[in-house]
């Protein structure tokens, strides 16, 4: 049992970091990133590729942490003049391109077969690293959130023109946030690669991006503690529904589908009864406030 708790908390910690990263971009800055799985995949693949070429683990770490922010700039700078709807599709497209590239380059990334990654020595070590990463990410996100920089991010989120009239260049803020957020997600990806011991293209589809989004929006965009709780709720809902399903004596494929239906239903109900998320963002008044 304790093994299961260790495992679950590790998974929650990793996905929380991803959710925090998305919260920096979307919750605070208003960047609609529908390819949030991309930096995560880059991190995982960096770990996998480093291992497959026989390099030590820290080469993968450096590779992932360098490549993800570079790619974030490559995605955000050409797209800067587009509205948010299109931004969502650009990031979604970028994530798909990365996945398809990994799928179709067997010599580099193992193709459909994927790559093995050395696993952490023990589940407890994995837990410690994941928790450490979560704590660092959390305090970093909190720090950003409370700083004048973070307040300016919220201004950009609400009104880019207003931000410009205040003499700030929105794209510079957006780019800095993306770089930091993508590094965070890449770190989560590296950890995940070593935790699961394997990377393959099927692990980085649009579905995974949606799960991160669900965590952020259910938890309450804009609040770091909210999105961590969101990630925990999503994972625990998924896992605990397995235990409930086990009580029901119906054909297994029927139960599997009912479980997912219940998941969808709960998601919808949460929005109807708690549209601002579990932990709502507090409205703050500052001298640069919108109204």
């Amino acid at each position: 049992m304790i093994d299961f708790v260790i495992y679950s908390v590790t998974v929650i910690a990793i996905w929380s970091v991803l959710a925090l990263s998305l919260n920096l971009q979307f919750g605070m800055t208003g960047l609609v990133n529908f390819g949030q799985i991309l930096p995560f995949a880059i991190g995982s693949y960096a770990a996998g590729i480093a291992a497959s070429f026989g390099y030590p683990w820290w080469i993968g770490v450096i590779g992932g942490l360098l490549f993800a922010p570079l790619l974030s700039l490559a995605v955000i700078l050409p797209a800067q003049r587009l509205s948010q709807d299109y931004w969502a599709l650009i990031t979604l497209g970028a994530a798909e391109i990365f996945r398809l590239t990994m799928l179709n380059t067997p010599s580099l990334a193992g193709g459909a077969d994927g790559l093995n990654v050395p696993r952490f020595g023990s589940p407890v070590l994995a837990l410690c690293i994941a928790l450490a990463l979560l704590v660092v990410s959390f305090f970093f996100a909190e720090r950003v959130s409370r700083s004048p920089f973070g307040r300016m991010l919220r201004v950009i989120r609400e009104d880019e023109v207003l931000a410009s009239t205040l003499g700030r260049n929105p794209i510079r803020y957006q780019a800095s946030v993306s770089v930091a957020a993508w590094m965070m997600a890449a770190a989560a990806g590296i950890t995940y690669g070593h935790f699961s011991g394997y990377v393959a293209p099927t692990s980085f589809t649009v579905t995974e991006t949606f799960i991160i989004w669900t965590a952020v929006i259910v938890g309450g965009p804009g609040r770091n503690i909210g999105v961590v709780i969101g990630a925990a709720v999503i994972q625990l809902l998924g896992v605990s529904s397995r235990f409930v399903a086990q009580w029901v004596d119906l054909p297994s494929d029927l139960i599997a589908n009912l479980r997912l239906a219940a998941f969808g239903l709960i998601l919808v109900l949460m929005f109807i009864y708690r549209p601002q998320g579990l932990i709502a963002e507090k409205r703050e008044a500052h001298n640069v406030d919108r109204d």
Binding site: A79, R81, L89, F210, T214, R259, A261
Partner: protein, 294 residues
Amino acid sequence: MLQVFINSIVYASEIAVIAVGVSLSYSVLRFANFAHIQLAIVGGYLTYSFAAIPGLPMVIAVLLAAIGTGIIAVLIDVLVFSRIRGISAEGKMIVSWGVALFIRSMLSVIYGGSAKVFDVPSEVIIVQDAVFTTLDITVVVATAVLMVGLHAFLYRTRTGSALRALASNYDLAVTRGIPGERLIRLMWFLSGALAAVGGSLFAMQTRLQPSLDLVILLPVFAAVTIGGMSNVFGAVIGALVLSFAQNFLIWIDFGTLFFGEPWHIPTQFRDYIAVLALLIVLLLKSGRAAGGKR
């Protein structure tokens, strides 16, 4: 050449009807409605059920399914989306994902997870060296008729004009006395019915599976985006652009053209072409939108 042209037209028709519904829905509701694609699958299953009634012609089955799906779409609005009109577009998008997940799972519960196939009689027609089927013709013609009909409705009727007014500026339209909520219901019915027909045509050509929405999500949204999101008929153009790009780029023998050795883009890069077409169109837009409009 003629064959590739035909293939492109057929594939474009298959996705165009669904894509038009997505952009109609987007133009009024202002969020990417993933549940819409799932409604197409629901429509396909309803047609499948109605078609099983002995003696019922396929056309009637599709019409019944369209009405049924329209009603389901309105129900979704009443039960879910009308209660969350105030939340962010991203929130609604996630909700539509949840709705789609729910419907997909319920379809699996009712019909089973494995694929169902329509038994539609179809003759092969050969023109010069090109081969196509009577079903292909049905799909293309039905799509064309639907598009013309929808255009006539939106541009020739009062209700259609009101819908367009709603799409271009909701608040203004409502202050001018247009019954916003009622029209939104109508829009849901219409897009649901449209999705059902699109989904049925699609399913007749290929197959029916609860998770089919995840497969057509990318081409449909690519088509809608290339066409300009809220421009309803832009989605048709988008579908054509996408389909021609995919079919021709894979078919063209670039090798002989440039190096004298036969070589073409491997077929596993088909998805690349869809995504790249999407990105290129977006970046072109980005260049044009330099003034900061939209």
